[in-house]
Structures are given as C-alpha cells and as structure tokens.
C-alpha cells in the first residue's frame, strides 16, 4: 500500500525487536469474541487514478454547466489561485493546533492577522481564531451573552437565517435558554422594532439580528443598539455575507458579531468547511469561546505569538469551559486571511461595488417582467427577495431546463411567503448570464400553467 512506508521484512524485524511472534499478539487485549476474523466489506483498494476517476464521475452528476443565482447564506465569489497555492503548502496543511508555539509561529502569526482583519471588517475590538460556521458562531454568541448577563431569554429576529435559528434551538433546548422570535415588517423585510421593543424585558440576555438578513435586507443595526443595550441586553449581529462589509457600515454598535467568513475565499463546497468567527468588545474577552492567539515576547525580547487565555477552554476547564469547541476551522480561516490580503482595501471595495451594482441591475431587469415585484423595500446588498405571480418551484423547473438555477424558494420556512424567492447576484455573474436568466424567467412565466 502506497501510503505505508514499510516492507514486509521491516515489519518482521520490528516484531522481532518487540518480541512478538505475530502482529496478532499485539492485539491480545481485545477479547477473542470481539476480534474481526473476516475482511471488512469496503470498496477498494483504488489507485490514485481510479480515485480521481470516481470523484470526476460524481462531479459530473452535479450542477456543472449550470448558472446559479442562489445565495441564502453561501456565496459564490471570485477566488485567486494564490489562495489554494498557499493553503496547499504542507507546513500549513499538515500541522496541528499550534500548542507548541516555537515551531508553529507561522500558523500563530496568521491567526493573529486573521483576528485583526476580522476586527477591522466588523468594527469590533477583538475576534477569535474561528468557530465551525456562521450558524454555530451565532449560537455561541448567544451563549456568551447568557454568561455575560446571567439572563436566560433570547429574542431572535425571524429574518435571521432559518438554519441559524434551528441550530440555536438545538443548543438552547437543554440549557434553560428560552428562545422567542420577533417578526419582520411585512412590506420592508427588516425586524419589527415595535414588536422588539414590546418584547424586551429585564430578563433578556440577547437580541439577535442578521444583516444583511436572510431576505437580503440590511437591518438598521445602529438604531437597534441603543434600545437593546438600554435594557441591559446585548445586541448580537450575525453576518452571513461578509463581502457586504466592504460597502456597508460595520455593526460596530453590536456587542457581539457572529460572522460566516465563507464568502472571503472559500468555495461553496456543498455546505462546508467554512469558517465562523466571533468578534466582540475587549471587556468580554474572558467569556469568549474558542481559541485566541496573542502577541508576546521570548526571553530575548523577540516578538512571537501564542495561544492564550486557555483557561476559558475545555482542555483546561473541562465542565466549566466557555464552550466544548476544540478543533475549529483553522485552515479555512487561513484561506480567508490570504484572500483578504489579496483583495486588500481597494479590491474588497471594488468587489462589494460590483456585487451591489449587479444586484441592482438584475432587480431592475426582473421588475420589467409583468407580475414580478420586489418583495421588500429595505436596502439590500447582493441578494434580494422577489415576488412571482406563480409558484417558485414551477418556475424553477422551467429554468433548470435552460441550465439556470433560479430563485431560492423560502415558502417552506416562511409559509406566508410562498411565491417569493431569494435572488443572489455576485461579481461572478456576467451581464450576459443575468440577461439570459431574466429572459428565461420571463418565458417561464409565459408558459401555460
């Protein structure tokens, strides 16, 4: 086997050195009745060539050749080939969590840079080294708020990603945390501030909004902050489309920002691996979940970096830890770091502008189709909700025949929003494809029912 660096003779020599007659002897602690006596029934062994062929066959059964206008929490953006070239350096790819700082300075400095970039992007003071994804980051942000306030009720805007809310409910169920949902304003698409105001009581630990929210609408974060904080609750802002922060005011007024960094250099990859992150205020650092890299010096005064404040973490605190997270998404965070360095200040601004311009263009073209309307009036970034004169599912069935993956139906999560769909347009969509999409949608609506 090509991955195993031993000849049969070497195995024999090693067994002899140990003083064992056979390899079986080394497994003598496993009671006989539990020992497998037949080979596992697994496909393979396959050569490298066959492995590649297997996965290419699977790839061909997916959506290659289709143009997609789906976002909904995962965004297609341009990625430089440089990012993967760096990620595939074995020194990054095949290293462990940097507990041995002297031989992990590369990873540690990169995490420190990631933390800095995340602070700059979100307008927050500190950021951690990564969480699993945006959904768990949002959940952990709520748990952090619960610890900070000692309160056990959380108000979540219904305009937050449905899957993020589902994850929060899973974690909340057994921890004594009560989750309540706050409606959105039907015509606007942003959180209903009057309903929110009425629901905020002295027992509320956190208010959670997402911006841009699941409908693509930008929430009035700054305006919400005062109200929330006056009650002693913390404002948690989830960001699922990080590129929006190149053009939209950061949620600096929030107490905790829970972000999904996928759109900063990570491919959609059918849902993961991505990189969540939590950013917050410096004074809250001791309740932060996850790893943190910090700057320090060695005995000769040289700058270096270490994992720090580990007394928050499970390997030290066990049942009293701030979270059970151990393995995080380090390599994905590195991808985001390299990608952000490549984009730079100007590149991020330009990409954000292009997303904004293309989405505006697409909406204007779509609105020319009879019966197609913008569903919500709130400003948006690169994703918006449209209302169609017939079922999104039927329309999409037509679009697929023209090799277009169309609006994301949201009626299953919002029963009041049937015939509504999310349309996402990023810098990756050429004008000709947007026009083809609009023309195909027009044809789909002209088809007899």
């Amino acid at each position: 086997m090509r991955y195993l660096p031993k000849s049969p003779a070497e195995r024999e020599q090693m067994l002899a050195a140990i003083g064992a007659k056979s390899i079986d002897e080394l497994f003598s602690e496993i009671p006989e009745r539990f020992r497998l006596r037949q080979a596992l029934s697994l496909p393979g062994p396959l050569s490298e060539t066959e492995i590649i062929a297997y996965f290419k066959d699977r790839a061909a059964e997916n959506s290659v050749g289709y143009t997609s206008f789906v976002g909904g929490g995962v965004y297609n953006h341009l990625r430089s080939v440089v990012t993967d070239a760096i990620l595939q350096r074995g020194e990054f790819l095949t290293s462990y969590t940097p507990y041995q700082a002297e031989i992990a300075q590369g990873t540690l400095q990169a995490i420190f840079e990631f933390q800095t970039l995340m602070c700059q992007l979100t307008g927050q003071e500190i950021a951690n080294a990564s969480m699993y994804d945006g959904s768990t980051a949002t959940t952990e942000a709520v748990l952090m708020a619960e610890r900070l306030t000692g309160r056990h009720r959380v108000l979540v805007a219904r305009s937050v990603h449905p899957e993020y809310r589902q994850v929060l409910r899973t974690y909340a169920k057994n921890s004594g945390l009560q989750v309540e949902e706050i409606p959105y304003v039907a015509a606007v698409g942003t959180v209903d501030t009057a309903a929110l105001k009425a629901a905020i009581k002295a027992d509320v630990a956190a208010v959670v909004v997402q911006s841009p929210n699941y409908f693509g609408a930008i929430e009035p974060v700054a305006a919400l902050a005062g109200e929330v904080q006056a009650s002693g609750a913390l404002l948690v802002v989830a960001v699922a489309e990080a590129v929006s922060l190149g053009l939209i005011r950061p949620p600096a007024e929030a107490d905790i920002v829970a972000m999904e960094a996928q759109s900063l250099g990570l491919p959609p990859s059918y849902g993961g691996p991505f990189a969540g992150v939590i950013a917050s205020r410096e004074k809250f650092v001791r309740q932060m979940p996850g790893r943190l890299a910090g700057q320090t010096t060695d005995g000769d005064g040289r700058r270096g970096f270490v994992l720090t404040l580990a007394t928050r973490e499970q390997h030290i605190r066990r049942e009293k830890a701030t979270s059970n997270i151990c393995t995080n998404q380090a390599l994905c965070a590195l991808a985001a770091t390299v990608h952000m360095c490549l984009l730079g200040k100007e590149g991020l601004r330009e990409i954000a502008h292009q997303n904004f311009s293309k989405a505006q263009f697409a909406l204007a073209e779509l609105e020319k189709i009879p019966g197609v309307k913008r569903a919500f009036s709130a400003p948006f970034f690169n994703e918006f909700t449209i209302e169609l004169p017939r079922s999104v599912r039927i329309v999409n069935a037509h679009l697929v025949r023209e090799k277009i993956i169309g609006p994301l139906a949201i009626g299953a999560d919002y029963p009041e929003l049937t015939k509504r769909g999310l349309v996402c347009v990023t810098e990756t969509a050429p004008r000709t494809e947007i026009e083809r999409f609009v023309a195909a949608l027009r044809r789909a609506l002209e088809q007899p029912v």
């Binding site: 496993i30 959506s63 992007l121 059918y270 993961g272 910090g294």
Partner: protein
C-alpha cells in the same frame, strides 16, 4: 551532544513582519474584470448604511508580497510533511494529496448546498458511500455526517441519548466520564444539560467495573468511554461495562478519537457501544490544517435513528438520493447545511485508497507504538504496563529527579527535529509523555525518534540545563505566556491611530 542530532540541522529562515506593516496605499494584489453593468451609486441607495471609505487598516500589498509573506510564515511551522508528529490522541498521519485534488474538482468544490437535489446527486452519492463505509468499519447501524468536529459529534451523540431517554419518559441526570477522558467530554455533557460524574480509573488504568456497578443508577444517562483509553490501552471488560449500563437502562457512548487502533480489527458496534463519533481528521487522514477543519460523524444503533439531526440522507423509491428535513423526533440541526462536505470527500478518498486493507494501517500503527515502547521502556518510566495499542504513555518521573519535566523533554525534542509528543495529558499520569506515531512512520523514522528520546534522557542525567532551556534552534525561544494572558494583545493596531468604526 549535537552529533547525536541526526534528523535536523540548522538552516536560515527569513524574517517577516505582520502583513499590516508592509502596506502602502495604491499597492494591490487582485484585479477584477471590468464591471459590465451600470455602476450603481451606493451612497444614494444606502444612505447612512454606506461604508464610504472602505475598510480602515485593510492590507495594501502586491501579489508577490502576499506569496512571500505566507511562504515565509509557513517555513516557521513543523508539519507531518517534514517528519514524525507523535502527538498522542491526535493521530497525525499522512494526509494524501489526491484527497486535496479531488476535493477541489469542479463539480465538487463548486456545489451550492441549496441547489436542487436532482443536480446534487454526485454529492449525495459521495455522502451515501461514506456513510456505508463508516457503518461497516464501526459495526453500527445508522449515521449522521453533519457534526463539524469531534466535540460537536459528542454533543450530537449526547443529544440523541437525551432525546431517546426523554421519549421513554425520563432524560435522567448524569453522564459518567472517566478521569482519563478528553476535556471535550465533560464540557459537552454540560451543554447537553447533564451533570458530570467523574469516575476514577483502577490501578491498571482501566475502568473500575466493580465501582461502576455501584454508581450506575437510574439517574445515569450514559457513560462516555474512550476506547482504547487515552493511555492507549484497550478496555478489556468493555462487553461487561456495556451490559451493566444496559441493565440499568443507561447507554454506552464511545469517543472514537482512538479509532485508529481498531479499524479492521474490531468494531465498536460489536462491543456493545450504542453511539459514537469518529474524527475524520484523525483516523481518516483529513488534514488538521493548524487546528481544523474536522468532521465528527456520529454512528448509532438502530433505536437512535429516529432522533438523528436533519437533514437525513434517504434513498427515494426511484433510486435517487434526497436530504429529508422533516423528522418529528429529530434533535434538530447542530450546524447549517449537511456537514463539512469537503472533509467528507477527503475521508472517502482515503477509505477508497485502502479498501479492506485499512486493517494494515491499524496494524502498522500499533506496531510502531509498541516498537517505540520497547526501546524506551526503562529509559522513561512506564506507569501503566498493560499492552499498548496505537499509543504509549510514559511519565517523566525518572527525569524529574534532575529537575527535568515532560515539557522540557518535549521542547528538547524540537532541537532533534521532531514535533513534541502530547505533554501533561492524560491527567491521570503526572508528567505524561503521550506518544502516538501512527502508521505513517517508517522504521527509519521510528529509530531516529528512539535515538533522540534516548539522547535526551542521557542529557537529562548529565546536562539537565540544556534540556531545561530548550529549544535552542528555533526562531523564538520559550515565549512569555504569563504576560500574554495577563495583558492580552489579540490584534494589531496601527501606531498612528486606533481604528474606530468608520
């Protein structure tokens, strides 16, 4: 002594500051195709929501500077690609490069989790094939690939247990955890709403079955067991342990972190385990990447299947695969979408490369650990003498007499060209040296490691100072962790101004 350092020699590496210290306005590393639609005016549409000046402090550098920056940083890391990485319980094995290649294919990396399932059959087939393989390897009956890492797998497993017991009328109060367990176990039990009761190991490092019999009551939901334990020892009485839990209506959870000792040799499902997680970034070779990503699939017995997280992968009558989101007894979702798919792809590629031959990997891993044990026994103290499986745990008690502890030995190992083993864990061994070589090491690499460990033991006796002040060859010496924690500096700030929100 330096002539004894065979694996490593000094070489020059480049100095490099923070990326923020190289910035100059106007430099850039990425250019976009020109905008082909009319430029929209954000100030008008967004008003006060507009961030007009871009992100303050963001890098302004060229492409070559980005390449050099990260390449220089990379050279400061140790890696599996450079040599043995004997971290116990971490299973730092070779990460095959074909896995990286296939995970990046068009049609794999490019697929969107919300695209129609008819256009995702390739992704779903990959997941189905991996599910089948993992069930065969573990001997379990149902599985979810959703958890993002081992700790999340543990949480998923405990929530399954809770949901099952709740449905039977009583979720119960306690989860039992041996004192040798990973820290994630107790941290997870708390999130699942359970009290933790730590149980002491008996004198051979095994679970004390007689003691266990006394403490398993109707209040106990489950025992979380790591098998082989973190001492690298197989729980010989596991069948009995499962039996006595089941007799009281409690379940057996297995932490699969050490599955690299078992694959192809025995199956947790046959041992009486009810639910377990696997760490694909350990046993199944997906890269650790400096701390993640991982994936922590959870495999269960049939009776726990109704409670699995949604979506559940099902086969439709027409033979097509589908993700089913409506399940009345499901615990819900533990993360968005269906899992760390890219990690799942890599794990399947690994399994396909071995097929049934995965047993050979297990045998080689156990052979390496025992070979190292044989050559270091006596040189280092072996506190528990039961046979080792894939890892061996020594203590520093011999070297302690000269004031040298496990951390010192670990740091000195760096000078010899190796990554340290796991230090100070498991907690039941004071001054532990926890060594897991994995199957990826040749006899030659094992011999070099043994030589290095023997040389360090000699140094500890004759010249302890050189060990206590190690490492001597790295870019930085031991770092001041106390100041780092007391006065945390967690981000770079420009000297001229602090960034506020713009």
């Amino acid at each position: 002594m330096t002539e004894r350092i065979k694996k490593a020699s000094r070489h020059t590496n480049q100095s490099e500051g923070l990326i923020f210290e190289k910035c100059s306005p106007g430099k850039r590393a990425f250019e976009l195709p020109p905008l082909d639609v009319p430029l929209a005016e954000p100030a008008k549409a967004l008003g006060a929501l507009h961030r007009s000046g871009g992100v303050e402090g963001f890098p302004e550098v060229s492409e070559i500077e980005v390449i050099r920056h990260f390449t220089r940083l990379s050279t400061w890391n140790y890696a599996i690609d450079l040599g043995m990485y004997p971290l116990g319980s971490c299973t730092m094995k070779y990460n095959p490069r074909v896995n990286e290649f296939v995970a990046r294919l068009d049609g794999i990396a490019t697929e969107h989790p919300c695209q129609p399932q008819e256009l995702s059959q390739g992704c779903l087939k990959i997941m189905r094939q991996l599910e089948k393989c993992l069930l065969e390897i573990t001997g379990m009956e149902a599985i979810t690939l959703q958890p993002a890492a081992g700790a999340q797998g543990e949480l998923t497993g405990l929530l399954l247990i809770r949901a099952y017991l709740e449905k039977k009328g009583n979720p119960r109060k306690k989860v039992l955890i041996p004192d040798s367990a990973h820290g994630t176990n107790p941290a997870t039990a708390v999130i699942a709403g359970y009290e933790v009761e730590n149980i002491k190991s008996e004198s051979h490092g095994q679970i004390d079955v007689e003691k266990l019999r006394e403490i398993v009551t109707e209040d106990v939901a489950a025992l979380m067991i790591t098998n082989p334990s973190t001492l690298g020892i197989f729980e010989e009485r596991i069948g009995e342990i499962a039996g006595l839990l089941h007799a009281k209506g409690a379940l057996l959870y297995m932490d699969g972190a050490n599955m690299n000792a078992l694959a192809g040799v025995t199956r947790p499902g046959d041992l009486g385990v009810d639910v377990m997680h696997l760490n694909l970034h350990k046993t199944f070779s997906t890269p650790h990447g400096g701390g993640g990503p991982g994936a922590g699939p959870v495999a269960t017995k049939r009776f726990l299947e109704p409670f699995l997280p949604v979506p559940v992968l099902v086969e439709r009558p027409d033979g097509k695969l589908a993700l089913e989101s409506q399940r009345k007894d499901s615990i819900g979702k533990v993360r968005a979408f269906a899992g760390n798919f890219g990690v799942l792809v890599r794990a399947l590629a690994y399994i396909l490369a071995y097929g049934p031959g995965i047993r050979q990997a297990t045998e080689d891993a156990v052979l390496n650990a025992n070979y190292i044990r044989k050559h270091l026994e006596g040189v280092y103290d072996l506190p528990y003498s039961l046979p080792s499986m894939h890892e061996v745990v020594f203590s520093d008690s011999i070297q302690k007499k000269n004031g040298v502890n496990t951390m010192d030995i670990a740091k000195r190992l760096i000078d010899y060209g190796f990554h340290p083993y796991t230090t100070a864990f498991p907690l039941i061994v004071p001054g532990a040296l926890m060594i897991e070589p994995t199957e990826s090491e040749s006899k030659e690499e094992c011999d070099l490691f043994i030589d290095a460990m023997r040389a360090i033991a000699e140094e500890a006796a004759t010249n302890p100072e050189i060990v206590k002040t190690a490492p001597h060859t790295t870019r930085v010496g031991r770092l001041d962790e106390v100041t780092a924690a007391r006065k945390p500096i967690l981000r770079w700030k420009s000297a001229s101004r602090t960034e506020a929100a713009d």
